[in-house]
């Protein structure tokens, strides 16, 4: 209400808690609204000071006059509107639904965001396979290759353990046994890669299906490799 909260409030500055003089009127008008300490202070003052008691009586007279005037005003009801009509008018003027503050309207956002984040994390975790059905994946860090001082494995070259020795087999050559270059000493392609695929164990069934000629060619190729 006040347009200037810093405005001086009265003719005399009040003590922080109000002196017993200053609180006397509040005591007369509503003793229950005083703190026990203030009440004791004023009662002690009134008990020992006839002037304070006279002041108390004078204050009571003025307050009685004021309250009587207020009561009369209320009782007269002069100029008062039709209260029932005002109620109806207010009811019509406002919404039939209880408005909600903006922070309550968006309250659903927190659990929704949490759910969306959790879902995203779970989808990302599941989309990165830790185990793969089918071909076995072996990771060969590049640093390992450099420490072993061996060229990086080419993309389609796989090491096979054959006849007690490790042999690199170029899978990109298509049908190994049908490859005209099979057995030739072609320079190995050395495409850098971090992963080298091994033939799955189930795929080795083709070995059993080799005919004698093919086996012979393979043995010759191996011998050439060893030599």
């Amino acid at each position: 209400m006040s347009r200037d909260p810093g405005e001086p409030i009265g003719p005399a500055p009040a003590a922080p808690g109000g002196s017993s003089d200053e609180l006397l009127t509040a005591y007369v008008d509503g003793v229950s609204e005083l703190s026990p300490a203030d009440r004791r202070r004023i009662e002690a003052r009134l008990a020992g000071d006839p002037a304070a008691r006279a002041e108390q009586a004078a204050v009571r007279t003025v307050l009685d006059q004021l309250r009587s005037s207020a009561t009369t005003d209320r009782a007269s009801g002069a100029g008062e509107p039709d209260w029932a009509a005002m109620e109806r008018s207010i009811r019509r003027a406002v919404s039939t639904e209880v408005p909600r503050p903006w922070w309550r309207r968006w309250k659903w956002l927190a659990p929704a965001a949490t759910f969306a984040t959790a879902t995203t994390v779970m989808v990302l975790m599941w989309s990165r396979p830790t185990t793969v059905d089918g071909p076995v994946v072996i990771s060969h860090p590049v640093t390992d290759r450099t420490t072993r001082d061996t060229p990086p494995a080419p993309d389609a070259v796989v090491p096979l353990w054959l006849d007690g020795d490790e042999v690199d087999v170029d899978l990109s050559a298509g049908d190994l046994l049908g490859d005209p270059g099979f057995g030739d000493d072609e320079p190995e392609r050395t495409t850098a890669t971090d992963e080298v695929r091994l033939l799955p164990a189930t795929d080795l069934a083709w070995v059993d299906q080799l005919d004698d000629a093919a086996l012979e060619r393979a043995e010759r190729w191996l011998a050439g490799k060893k030599g």
């Binding site: 006040s2 609180l23 003793v31 006059q65 004021l66 005003d73």
Partner: protein, 198 residues
């Protein structure tokens, strides 16, 4: 001492609630979606708000319009009411703001002494005291009080607010409200005494 105790104003007005807000439950029910709780608040406070507004707006019908506007604003804001003040003083604050706003908008239509400062500045109303009745005479004396004292006195006596609520509306501490009330009554005594003498 016995004579003194007999004269004590012990709990003269026990109906005034100071520690608990009787409207808080209605506000909470409204906030939880019960629209009818607001109707109960209207029924409970429309008279008090109209009387308060009527002291600013010098027309009964205009006071009714401003009171209705205040309730509409309260309806929109009650959902966000946090309960730092009592519901009643919160409603009364809205009513005062609406009344001041109305006065600003209708400044030209108001007589000079009934402009925005009507409530807070010395403003004897000769037309009223010409009737010579005690109430008008008292009213004229109240109008001579300094703004803050007058505000505190009226909120306390005519609106029957607790000192805590008066302090909330007057932007001061509860003790400051009590001290202002003391000086208002003291000054009123002086004014009335001087008038009687003259």
């Amino acid at each position: 001492m016995d004579a003194f105790v007999a004269g004590l104003p012990v709990l003269e007005r026990p109906t005034r609630v100071t520690s608990e807000d009787p409207d808080r439950e209605l506000a909470e029910r409204f906030q939880s979606g019960e629209r009818a709780a607001f109707d109960l608040l209207v029924r409970r406070h429309q008279k008090g708000m109209w009387r308060l507004v009527r002291r600013y707006v010098k027309s009964d019908a205009d006071a009714a319009d401003v009171t209705q506007l205040a309730f509409v604003r309260a309806f929109r804001g009650l959902a966000a009411f946090r309960g730092t003040a009592s519901v009643r003083s919160w409603l009364y604050r809205i009513a005062i703001n609406c009344a001041l706003s109305w006065l600003r908008d209708h400044r030209r239509e108001q007589p000079a002494e009934l402009a925005e400062d009507a409530l807070t500045e010395a403003n004897p109303a000769p037309a009223r005291i010409s009737a010579g009745d005690d109430r008008a005479w008292l009213r004229a004396a109240i109008d001579q009080l300094p703004p803050k004292q007058k505000l505190v006195l009226e909120l306390r006596v005519f609106d029957d607010l607790s000192f805590r609520e008066v302090a909330e509306l007057a932007d001061c501490s509860e003790n400051t409200a009590k001290v202002n009330f003391h000086y208002a009554v003291k000054r009123l005594r002086d004014i009335l005494g001087a008038d009687h003498e003259s």
